[in-house]
């Protein structure tokens, strides 16, 4: 005698399958460790400091995309010494917008998945120069914002396709409120920041994720010669904050973290007061 049980009904009474929610963010490993990274703006001191930390953990494959390929090659050598197994350097011009989609597609096709993409290119420029030379100002905005839109959307397509991965976008506290002393830069970062936030929301539920990083004044080549600002920080400190943000699956990281609260206040100051404070 054989008993034949058909148990379709009990199966349907089972609790919901685990984890079909879309509320949780992702990186490749449960604790935020990544194994492969693509850096757009491959000579950025902040980006390289981030990769340095990730290399000490599990990051083994890095592609640096930069205009200055010689500088990027030197950085790649340093990364290999830090534990990265394979590095590659490719030529990348943030202002050459029409080439971005093909370039990003090729990088992913040739190198496989990336757990992390760092969007780290940008120029600070000098407001006084911009005031005299509007075309130079527009070119800076093209690099900081327009180039980020074309690469960001191309990267998003790839991350959506691969179903995982984090795009880290280096924004700035300057995006929070424009200052008369660098409002061209500030406005480009404000555009970038809004773009990155929106992209992050659009990617929710695809397995891909966007982390917006808002550093304050960072002492780097970019800011060399400028008067230091309150709450200034270093690439190493920003990198620490980014790595921690990845591990804790944040949408936004401020560096130093106190700037979140400082700018919560500053952005609501009356204009005359803000003009006074931000004049330096």
């Amino acid at each position: 005698m054989r008993h034949h049980f058909r148990v379709g009904h009990p199966i349907h009474r089972l609790p919901d399958q685990a984890g079909t929610s879309t509320s949780v963010l992702t990186v490749e490993d449960a604790l935020g460790a990544v194994q492969s990274a693509l850096v757009l703006g491959g000579t950025s001191e902040i980006a390289l400091a981030v990769i340095d930390r990730l290399a000490a953990d599990r990051c083994r494959r890095v592609v640096l995309a930069a205009r200055d390929t010689a500088g990027a090659a030197a950085a790649a050598e340093h990364l290999r010494a830090a534990g990265v197994e394979t590095t590659d350097v490719i030529e990348f011009d943030a202002a050459d917008i029409s080439r971005h989609p093909a370039l990003i597609e090729t990088v992913f096709a040739e190198h496989g998945d990336f757990d992390l993409v760092l969007l780290a290119f940008g120029v600070l420029g000098d407001q006084a120069t911009f005031d005299r030379d509007p075309v130079a100002a527009a070119n800076a905005v093209t690099v900081n914002y327009v180039g980020a839109v074309s690469t960001g959307l191309s990267v998003a397509q790839e991350l959506r396709r691969q179903g995982h991965g984090t795009l880290v976008v280096l924004s700035s506290v300057a995006a929070e409120r424009p200052r008369k002393t660098n409002f061209v830069y500030g406005s480009s970062k404000a555009g970038l920041d809004a773009f990155a936030q929106g992209l992050g929301d659009a990617l929710e539920g695809t397995g891909a994720h966007v982390l917006v990083v808002r550093p304050g004044f960072v002492k780097t080549r970019m800011t060399a010669g400028l008067p230091p600002q309150p709450f200034s920080t270093t690439p190493a400190a920003v990198a620490d904050a980014v790595v921690q943000g990845l591990a804790r699956k944040r949408h936004t990281v401020w560096a130093p973290p106190i700037l979140r609260w400082v700018f919560a206040l500053l952005r609501h100051l009356p204009r005359p007061l803000w003009r006074l404070i931000s004049a330096r």
């Binding site: 929610s21 490993d29 953990d57 921690q244």
Partner: protein, 458 residues
């Protein structure tokens, strides 16, 4: 996907720990033909089977690829003369128990949850409280049917096809999609257990009781308080038991000795915040749990859910860790590595590791599965909420200690192991890879776990 493929929905899937969801197409198949069709139309990013999603990490996810869920097509057949059950891969232990317990049979092995499927049980070669006597799930499997990405279907018999059989046992679903399996179940006279409970002073006391007395019990496991320090380090509540015979039941229970009901008392609401499980709340819970247990009790009658599946009484209990999720870490070290075990417990307790579901168990000998987890020795399993920045370094260090002792990490729970350690922990990995390559030469069977650990292409 191209139009000649079924238009499967795209969604995010995560493991039970909810730590890293990824996007994939999900094919819910309802018959073997459907399954084979989904498998042969796998996209270039490959395909993996998924059961009830109880593996903690990323074993049943396939970012950007296809995930096949066959839990909707579950059925099984019991031969009451021999106890042999043939079940489709999507059948859960819960469904099987509801069917077979009233006929006086019990599954050969059950983990701490009954919401696992037969397919998943083979792919992870799951173990339970009876490992020291009965081994793991695949020790009781006679044969299974394996569908391959090229559309072929193999009937794999443990004696006639040992290579494929043992590469699939614990093979994490990367050797093919199991569609059904035949395994032995064992007779029971009643659905109740006679349970002995011992509260131990510390870890050494627990080890001593388990090493000395486990062989007298069919089932044995210790809950361990990882927050206790100093001379209380590793204090545990040891529960051991066996199924009761009919005459051992109190008269009131004898009228329906094989009654079984998989109860669920409550459900966790989906809006639980992160951080509710913190060192203070967990310390409080552990203190309560330890003190609630009797110092020594013999012959208590417990039913199947209470003894085997206490966590299943709370539906979606994984949500209590909040949206950030949690990690399960389970290692095994050889029997003579008690010193390492002690050291691991000490490091976890020194770190104030916020774990309230830590379990210690003595394994019997392992089997021939290339990637099967159990080996003779001590296994420690714990859950930790994600968030503590020191966690990654601590666990990396523990992994290395485990590997150095010839121990290993359980892949069904892993979500963060360092890739380089895998070959040290599973020395038969190359042999496994060769068999996998004959079954799936195009390496279409892929999962996030496989990608992360280098078991399949990046």
């Amino acid at each position: 996907m191209s139009p000649d493929r079924p238009d499967y929905p795209r969604l995010t899937l995560a493991g039970w720990g909810r730590t890293n969801p990824t996007g994939a197409w999900l094919a819910r198949v309802h018959c073997p033909d459907d399954l084979v069709r989904a498998l042969t139309h796998a996209p270039e990013r490959g395909v993996i089977a998924r059961g009830l999603g109880r593996s903690y990490g990323d074993a049943s996810q396939n970012a950007g690829g296809l995930v096949i869920d066959s839990t909707g097509a579950a059925q099984f057949l019991l031969d009451p003369d021999t106890g042999v059950v043939t079940a489709s891969a999507g059948a859960s232990i819960q469904a099987i128990l509801e069917g077979i317990v009233p006929y006086g049979f019990f599954v050969p092995v059950t983990p701490g949850t009954r919401f696992v499927t037969v397919g998943g049980a083979i792919a992870s070669d799951i173990h339970g409280k009876n490992h020291h006597r009965a081994g793991s799930w695949c020790d009781h499997v006679l044969s299974f049917r394996l569908a391959l990405p090229d559309g072929s279907v193999l009937d794999v018999d443990r004696d006639r096809h040992p290579k494929v059989f043992w590469a699939t046992a614990g093979g994490m679903g990367l050797t093919g999609v199991i569609t059904e399996a035949t395994f032995r179940c064992y007779p029971i006279e009643t659905s109740r257990l006679l349970v002995d409970t011992d509260r131990t002073r510390d870890l050494d006391h627990a080890i001593e009781l388990m090493a000395g007395g486990d062989d007298a019990y069919d089932y044995s496991v210790a809950w361990i308080d990882l927050l206790a320090r100093g001379r209380f380090m590793g204090r545990s509540v040891l529960t051991r038991g066996r199924f009761a015979r009919r005459e051992e039941l109190p008269p009131a229970l004898r009228t329906h000795p094989l009654a079984y009901e998989g109860r669920q008392l409550a459900n966790v609401p989906p809006v639980f915040p992160s951080g509710l499980l913190n060192p203070w709340s967990v310390r409080l819970f552990n203190e309560f749990w330890y003190r609630k247990a009797p110092a020594c009790r013999r012959g208590e009658i417990q039913d199947i859910p209470t003894f085997f599946h206490p966590l299943d009484m709370i539906g979606n209990w994984n949500l209590i860790y909040g949206p950030r999720g949690f990690i399960q870490w389970q290692c095994v070290v050889p029997e003579d590595a008690v010193e390492t075990l002690r050291d691991i417990v000490r490091q976890l307790s020194d770190a104030g590791c916020t774990s309230f579901l830590a379990v210690l168990k003595r394994f019997g000998p392992g089997n021939e599965g290339h990637l099967s987890f159990p080996i003779a020795g001590w296994t420690l399993s714990l859950d930790i909420p994600v968030g503590d920045p020191r966690l990654a370094t601590l666990l990396d260090r523990l992994d290395e200690q485990v590997a150095a002792e010839g121990g290993r990490i359980y892949l069904a729970k892993d979500s963060r192991l360092r890739r380089e350690l895998l070959e040290v922990m599973y020395p038969r990995l190359d042999e496994w890879r060769r068999i996998r390559d004959t079954l799936d030469p195009n390496r279409l069977l892929r999962s996030d776990l496989g990608r992360r650990l280098g078991l399949c292409p990046d």
